[in-house]
């Protein structure tokens, strides 16, 4: 980030009294404001379709909402945009972004109610390009405001919890029930919870297994140069295989194992289903975990290593009391990468019968029903973002213990 941000990037309460606004425009905020205005004034807010797969009609904000509501949405969003463009303090930027998000959420629900004829079970109302762009920009603006506040790990987790609770309440209230994606949910409510659990189960168990295998493998291979090159080389090749190909490649051998090895079929090992999905996700998670462990241990300073040996620690004491604690932030960073990566990749498990949110995505694609795709994709994005926030907080805690800057 450039100089203009310096005022807010490094808040120094002793040196400079906190000011809520200073003269001039905020460069990034101006871009946010421009995009927000553009998306709401020049792009359609909502799209309506007579049924699930028919072609739709795009509606601008003032056509999608009752006049008073449209005016209120545009007015509040305009005020938020103006605030973002000015050089206001981070809490005000966060508030502007959050208010814009809130208004967009209300607008989507309100428009769906407004545009759905009473008693109509077939027509569909969904957000259109303008809404999505405005939502993305408002989200970025709120995130930028939060980042400029330099939140500690506790604040980040609290923010995540607040957002989760708020979204949960909104979903539970039925306010969005006339939105197309919620209609899809209503149609799949019986399987949705199960698929979310399958999705999380696959992603978490594959990462846990990769940590259980990858970390000890890295510990054993790291001191021996030849072994270390071989390990990282093999994992690198695994990583370059396209995910679809890997899932496909696993079908034949796993089907064979399921048929030939006694007891394997009972464990759920088969050519399709959760087994190939788990194996592929595990394989993708291995390299980042092992590489992060190796990198973290390599980064332990030479004098610290020397001193640990010199004061009379056994090799086990050196590993557990000095080397692993110092490598921990790097290892957690590796875990964060694979967890976010695998939550996304697990979608593909839907293709090989592994279940998870990918089921909705691929059903949606085959039925040409975009809203069903969203029913799979949106929760996936939410889960990945949430786990990223949690692990970032854990990384910050592990770094803070070493007296490092947390950001």
């Amino acid at each position: 980030m450039g100089e203009p941000f310096a005022t807010w990037m490094r808040p120094d309460p002793d040196a400079r009294p906190a000011r809520w606004i200073v003269a001039g425009l905020d460069p990034l905020g101006t871009v946010f404001a421009g995009l927000l205005s553009l998306s709401l004034l020049a792009l359609p807010l909502m799209i309506t379709r007579p049924n699930r797969i028919a072609a739709g009609t795009s509606l601008m904000a003032w056509s999608a909402l009752p006049a008073a509501a449209a005016l209120a949405v545009l007015g509040i969003a305009g005020f938020a945009a103006a605030l973002l463009a000015l050089r206001v303090a981070p809490p005000a930027r966060l508030a502007a972004g959050a208010v814009a998000l809130l208004v967009l959420g209300l607008a989507a629900g309100g428009a769906a109610d407004h545009l759905t004829p009473p008693g109509d079970r077939y027509s569909r109302v969904s957000p259109d390009a303008g809404w999505w762009l405005a939502f993305a920009v408002a989200g970025l603006a709120a995130g930028d405001g939060l980042a400029r506040l330099r939140p500690g790990p506790g604040t980040r987790i609290a923010t995540l919890a607040a957002v989760t609770v708020l979204a949960g309440l909104a979903l539970h209230s039925g306010f969005w029930n006339n939105l197309s994606v919620m209609r899809e949910y209503a149609g799949h409510a019986d399987t949705f919870g199960r698929e979310v659990r399958t999705h999380l189960g696959l992603a978490l168990s594959s990462v846990a297994a990769a940590a259980l295998v990858g970390i000890p493998a890295a510990l054993l291979a790291r001191p021996v140069p030849a072994l270390r090159r071989t390990l990282l080389g093999i994992l690198n090749i695994l990583q370059t295989l396209p995910s679809m190909a890997l899932f496909g490649m696993l079908i034949a051998p796993l089907a064979w194992i399921g048929r030939s090895v006694p007891g394997a079929a009972e464990l759920g090992i088969a050519g399709i289903g959760p087994a190939p999905a788990f194996v592929a996700l595990f394989a993708y998670a291995l390299l980042p975990v092992a590489a992060a462990t190796v990198a973290g241990l390599d980064a332990v300073p030479g004098p610290v290593r020397d001193a640990a040996a010199g004061v009379g620690m056994t090799s086990r004491q050196r590993l557990f009391q000095v080397e692993l604690p110092l490598a921990l932030p790097a290892m957690l960073t590796g875990l964060r990468i694979v967890l976010v990566q695998n939550i996304g990749l697990t979608v593909i498990a839907g293709l090989v019968g592994g279940g998870g949110l990918g089921v909705f995505v691929f059903q949606g694609i085959s039925q040409n029903a975009g809203d069903l795709v969203l029913l799979g994709a949106l929760p996936t994005v939410a889960l990945a973002s949430g786990s990223a926030v949690l692990l970032d907080a854990a990384i910050a805690v592990s770094r803070r213990r070493r007296g490092e800057q947390t950001q």
Binding site: P301, V304, A307, G310, V311, G312, M313, Q317, L326
Partner: protein, 315 residues
Amino acid sequence: MTADPMIELTGVSRVFGARTVVSDVSLTVEAGAILTIVGTSGSGKTTLLRMINRLVEPSAGTVRIAGRDIRDVPPHILRRGIGYAIQGHGLFPHRSVAENIAVVPRLLGWDRRRIAARVDALLDLFRLDPGVYRDRLPAALSGGEQQRIGVARALAAEPPVLLMDEPFGALDPIIRGQAQADLLAIQRRTGTTIVLVTHDMDEALRLGSRIAVMDRGRLVQEAAPAALIGAPATDFVGALLGRGDRAFQLMALRVVDDLIEPGPAPGEPIPAGISVRAALAESLWSQRPALPVSRDGVLLGRVTRAALEAQGARP
């Protein structure tokens, strides 16, 4: 001084692949002595030091500490009984100052209260307020403070032997001088036998009661400081000493106390115990051919410039 050997090296060599890094070194360090090992980089001085606590195993020869062959003791047990301080201090960045100092006592299984008392005593010894420094992380300390904590950690379990590898190498000259004075004061109090590796001949002369000079893996001379200055065994030792300064190096080692004679002298007295070099400098600076000497405010007599100058002559 009792002449019990604390450390004995007999025919010690170390070969890394085809390279002989230390070649057939025999040395004895008496209990309570400070041996400084000086040499250029790559002379094998650090490897020699690391063979005393088995961080490097000798390819040939034996090392004995207090008469016992160190191969008879498991390395980690041996090292807990030997202090070890290195350049760049090697403090554990995730542990507080108190935890760093307490590492060896904790490995030795001292009880909590004894460890806490020892940590505070060491912080006091190094003039760091325990209340202020105990819970700080190393990253929150200055370079000089980190170095002091590094030495405090090495001394925590009151080891009879302390090994130091360029311990002051990363410090600026003023802090380094203070750290050297501290080390000498503490060593006088504890009687610890110290082996200290340095590439700086002035440091070696200042700290060492004996000096060992290493050149390409060989021990080329081992002598008391004055003997080394007076009779360097090889051109290499002479080059390390810097031949032009020999007289002044010698005068820096000696104190004025033996040169005091009765009689008057003008001006401000110099304190007994200062080096001949410093006294001569004062004599030249203030243009006094003789200086009064006092101890604790009591006039002892005088030293003449001629007597001071005579101390710079070849022994």
